[in-house]
Amino acid sequence: MNVLEARGLRKSFGTTIALDGIDLQVDEGRILGLIGPNGAGKSTALNAILGLTQYQGELKVLGRDPWTERDQLMREVCFISDVAVLPRWLRVSQAIDYVAGVHPRFDRAKAESFLAKTSINRTSKVRELSKGMVTQLHLALVMAIDAKLLLLDEPTLGLDILYRKQFYDSLLNDYFDRKRTIVVTTHQVEEIQNVLTDLMFVNRGRVVLSCSMEELESRYVEVVVNPEQLAVARALKPMNEREVFGRSILMFDLKLNHANREQLLTFGDVRTPNIADVFIAVLGDDSGPVQGVSR
């Protein structure tokens, strides 16, 4: 069974179309990155999956309709959002008590042991914790839940580099296994490049590109072209060209058959592009705001 299955998912706010017919299919054990500029519809898609917003089209999460069966679905789905959603008046101990109270799949000992590794005080209120600590607390609660699907909406936004690294490390080492599925949206694409198994570019409510990471790596190639071969390389219709320190970097889509890898090797250094660069190149024709993606 697919963990997530969407067909023609649509959602509009007044005249603004947030989701314009999204098709999505995520199998068990995948880590999908949902990447797109601000306002691309990523958060709306996650909200629909969580049953927080209404939508048109077909959507099944673990075989359930999230809009009408949110409370049952939440036994198997967890969520960490970009906005600090833990109420500021809540004490750390109360948060643990509450989740232990209402969640049948919560392992209190697990949450406690995770918290023991942090400097979070059990009697503190959320408002007294730093942003990094709030995320650690939320992560401790979520990782102690034996969920099938975890949704992360900009989970590391506003965290310093130390916390960001820890966040994905604990997620991969202590939480993820082949039985779980993770969907993550983020602007900090470079730090999840090695985490993801699948990738989906979204722009203006539409899926621009959807592929596995292996596909991405075999399909897109970046070449730091030697100046004398620039004209030849350009003739092969690169999808994107940019200049870094006076060197031209051309990106090719090998699937379009204008070029092959052996040929490109003769132009200069060939390397795997990072997700942000592919994103910009793919979106190149689809003139939309891309300022949301950090490199």
Binding site: L50, R75, R88
Partner: protein, 304 residues
């Protein structure tokens, strides 16, 4: 609670887990968030007790005056501070209940905490019912308990002071008849302030689930507008009278207690009559509709 007991409980009663535990913990979380629910009446009781203790200095003197009074007037004089503290706590819980209802489903959207609460396997209806149970039952039982304990402390302190001064405490105890006025108080709180007012609390909760800003205006203005419109259009005040009756309960709910209050306060309280009042059941139907709508609204509403 350990995970082992959790697991055992789940095995024993999976249905009980799915129904009662989320409700219980939802109520707990209301008490964590809105600490004024118990702090406000406790503080009022503490302040009153403080003043009462100071007034004990003059109690022997006052008691001698009271004993010289006509027996029919003794009750009033003796019970006065006890009635005052009961009324004080009643008013405080009323105000707390009013503002609690307006905040209950509005605050969680304002602080975006609703995203966290909704990420837990607790239905909107369970959440709304847990919130409604606070003013309808929780606050009333709390007000009763705090009042009763305060009055008990007052009575014991008074008795001690009188005994030390060689004055008989018998009149104090018999005229006050604390246990029977407490029974009346409990009835008053549960039957009127709790259940009879359930549609009012439910209306406030509905407004709180729906308003994007200043829920207090949305809660108060529509009834006010209806009253004014009726007055202007037909020069009648049926709506206002009806609303006033809903608040006061009238003699239907409370019975006519003025006639022989000191002798047998509960004599005029008939649970049977109360339970057959059409106003009671009509109100409860309204309450159910409002609460159901509030639960629906909570599903649709986003953080603000």
């Amino acid at each position: 609670m350990t995970t082992e007991t959790n697991a055992v409980r789940q095995e024993i009663a999976p249905t009980a887990f799915s129904m009662m535990r989320p409700f219980y913990w939802s109520v707990r979380r209301e008490l964590w968030e809105h600490r004024s629910i118990y702090i406000a009446p406790l503080a009022a009781a503490a302040v009153f007790l403080f003043g009462f203790v100071i007034s004990l200095i003059s109690l022997p003197h006052r008691m001698r005056d009271i004993l010289a009074l006509d027996p029919s007037k003794q009750r009033e004089a003796i019970a006065m501070p006890y009635d005052v503290v009961a009324g004080l706590i009643m008013v405080i819980t009323l105000v707390v209940g009013f503002f609690y209802c307006l905040e209950a489903l509005y605050g969680e959207r304002r602080d975006r905490g609703i995203l966290f609460w909704k990420s837990m396997p607790v239905s909107d209806l369970t959440t709304v019912l847990a919130k409604a149970s606070i003013p309808i039952l929780g606050l009333q039982l709390l007000a009763f308990t705090i009042t009763f304990v305060t009055q008990m402390i007052m009575l014991l302190l008074s008795s001690a002071v009188l005994a030390v001064n060689g004055i008989s405490v018998a009149t104090l105890w018999t005229r006050l008849s604390l246990f029977s006025i407490s029974a009346l108080l409990l009835y008053h709180l549960v039957a009127l302030h709790g259940i009879w007012w359930a549609p009012i609390y439910s209306w406030l909760l509905l407004v709180s689930s729906w308003a994007r800003r200043v829920p207090i205006l949305w809660a108060v203005l529509p009834p006010l507008a209806i009253g004014v419109a009726e007055k202007v259009a037909f020069n009648t005040t049926y709506f206002g009278t009806w609303l006033g009756n809903r608040f006061s309960g009238g003699t239907d709910v409370l019975g006519d207690i003025s006639s022989n209050f000191p002798i047998e306060p509960m004599a005029h309280v008939h649970w049977g009559r109360y339970l057959t009042l059409p106003g009671l059941w009509g109100g409860l139907i309204f309450a159910a509709v409002f609460l159901f709508a509030a639960a629906r609204m909570r599903r649709y509403r986003q953080p603000i």
